[in-house]
Amino acid sequence: MAHPPTLSALRSLVAARFPTATRKHGRCIPTGVAGLDEALGGGLPAGKLTELVSAAASSGGQLVLARLLAATRAARQRVALIDGADGFAPEAVATDALRHLVWVRAHNLEEALAAADVLVRDGNYAVVAIDLRGIAERVLRRTPAPSWHRLQRAAEGRPGAVLVQTPFALVPAVPWRLALRASASLAQRRRPQAELAAELAVERVRGHVTAEEKAG
């Protein structure tokens, strides 16, 4: 059904006045984790925050990061990792999957958020990953909501995606929130990471794939 002319005119007017708000960001950055990409409709959405909650100890958050590094390395995209608790272990990732990585080893949450504020505005990164796991829950809960809103506004209209890894649902009004529920066992230690990533169970807690995004 055709929209009435007044509605079309109104949409055009809104699009002209607020180009950022109405712009469609169809670009996704595949993570290399099938379950995650499927839940997100193709990958991490550019210009948006995606929160990945890893509530359990060995639920696969670091595996997601390793696969993301491998996938972006294959695509020759640049990735920034803001490591809130300085937990990233370079030796646990293939050597070649580090060449495109800028690793920021923050001392605390304040430094991590300050670094995020800088990097999210930098258009050179395909993905800015902010890892807040390992930071005490009471510290994380004290994060003022405006900090997150500011980060989301900063990400809007940018070509890169922002992935926030948290131990519990933390980011208010985040467009996408996914959760890793299962916990790994020691029996999996000999299996290739690609296989483990393919079996990761990802639950979509918030956000949905629009028909346009499915089609595009």
């Binding site: 670091q62 595996l63 937990g87 272990a89 030796e91 060449r99 430094e111 258009g123 066992s185 990471q193």
Partner: protein, 482 residues
Amino acid sequence: MNYAVLRIPDFALHALRRSEPALAGRPVALSTGEGRKAILTEVAPEAAGIAPGFTVTLAMARCPGIVLRTRDPDAEIEAQRLLLAAAFTLAPRVEATAAGCCTVDLQGAQADRTEAAVRQRLAELARAGLPARAGVAATPLLAGYAARSADPVLVVRDPARFLQSLPLAVAEPSAAQAEILRSWGLKTLGDLTALAKADVGQRLGAEGVALWERAAGETARVLRLVEPTKSFVAAWTYEPPVESVEPLLFKLRRFAERIAFELRAASLVAEALTLTLLLEDETDHRRNFRLPEPGADVESWLRVMQTHLDSLRTAARVSGVRLSAAPARPPIRQDGLFETGLTDPQAFWENLARLGAVVGDARVGTPVLCDSHRPDAFILEKPPETVPAPAPPPLHPPRGPVLRRFRPPRSVRVLLEEERPVAVTGPLTGRLCAATGPWRVSGEWWMPGSWAVETWQVELAAGGLYQLARTAEGWWLEGVLD
């Protein structure tokens, strides 16, 4: 169009205002001394109702808010160096004609590009606090005349017509000559050159001939060339010392503007900056900024320095500042067809510098594993300009959950049965349902810092995979396998 003259009217006044931010927009005048009978030499346009030649007393009566200052030689030297640096970006043959005035030999330059280049240079000088004027003509003398009446650029294409209407004072007659010429009823250069040169010589002698030649623009002279600077350094002493960032940044901007011009004139860029703050307690603070992207962009230099200064606390007030730039050839790189370079290199390197200020320079970069079996052995390097092509897939792809470290590792107590861990207490507590290991590695046994570690991977009965390490000091929880 063989010569250009760059001239800054009221040079001493502009040099002073460029040096002191507090004088911006205020009615300022320079006087010959500090007494009330001192004479004003240069007056800012904001000082309404007064003019050069007024006494200080009269100036204060006519313009109550006037700021009276004497000349500042250091500020004039700095401004003169900026002017010369700007001139050297036009051509390599430059004469420092006078304070606030220089002559550039443009012979061989393309005439159609000269005016645009001069205009651009004047705009850059104006942004740096020196509003200059420029005259372009066939001789240095004519170019000098043109610079006096330019606004901001005057190109003399028809010298006779140009000289016709200029006042006699432009040719700088002596007081006696001026009196005689006035009595003859001559007011312009055209009036004087309308007389025969020989007749003027008969009545005024050799000096009269020289004046006639100057009035006709015939005088030619050889430029006394100066050498471009080879050291890119600027320094200033604060009197009194300062204790906030703003005056430092203001002065650093002025330094950066001049040094950037000097580098451009030498077709160089800066690969590093050294900032030295001289403190009141006779110590100093020195910081070397290695610029990831060598360049001569003033704003990016300032951002790097401001990031550092914002977080700097000194033990005493700052009594002086010095900035030097390490010159380098501009980087030349041809982009490959399939290279994925930086979309905004300037922002990339600036942001890395900012991150360095937030978390520390040593905690930002691309990790590179060290050639060692020692756990957690890596260094952080400067990220590559372009993301290189991926290597072929490794023969042994990474397996199992990925380690996330606890830095520093946490001390735990481990209960052993038959030399295998069965329970752990401490920051992590619980029975273990599985454990694999031990993997023993050691190294540097030939050195004082030898190390040896025994690693276990364990699974808690309550869930969760962890990595334990046993050293001579005890058991440690190294991280979680995630």
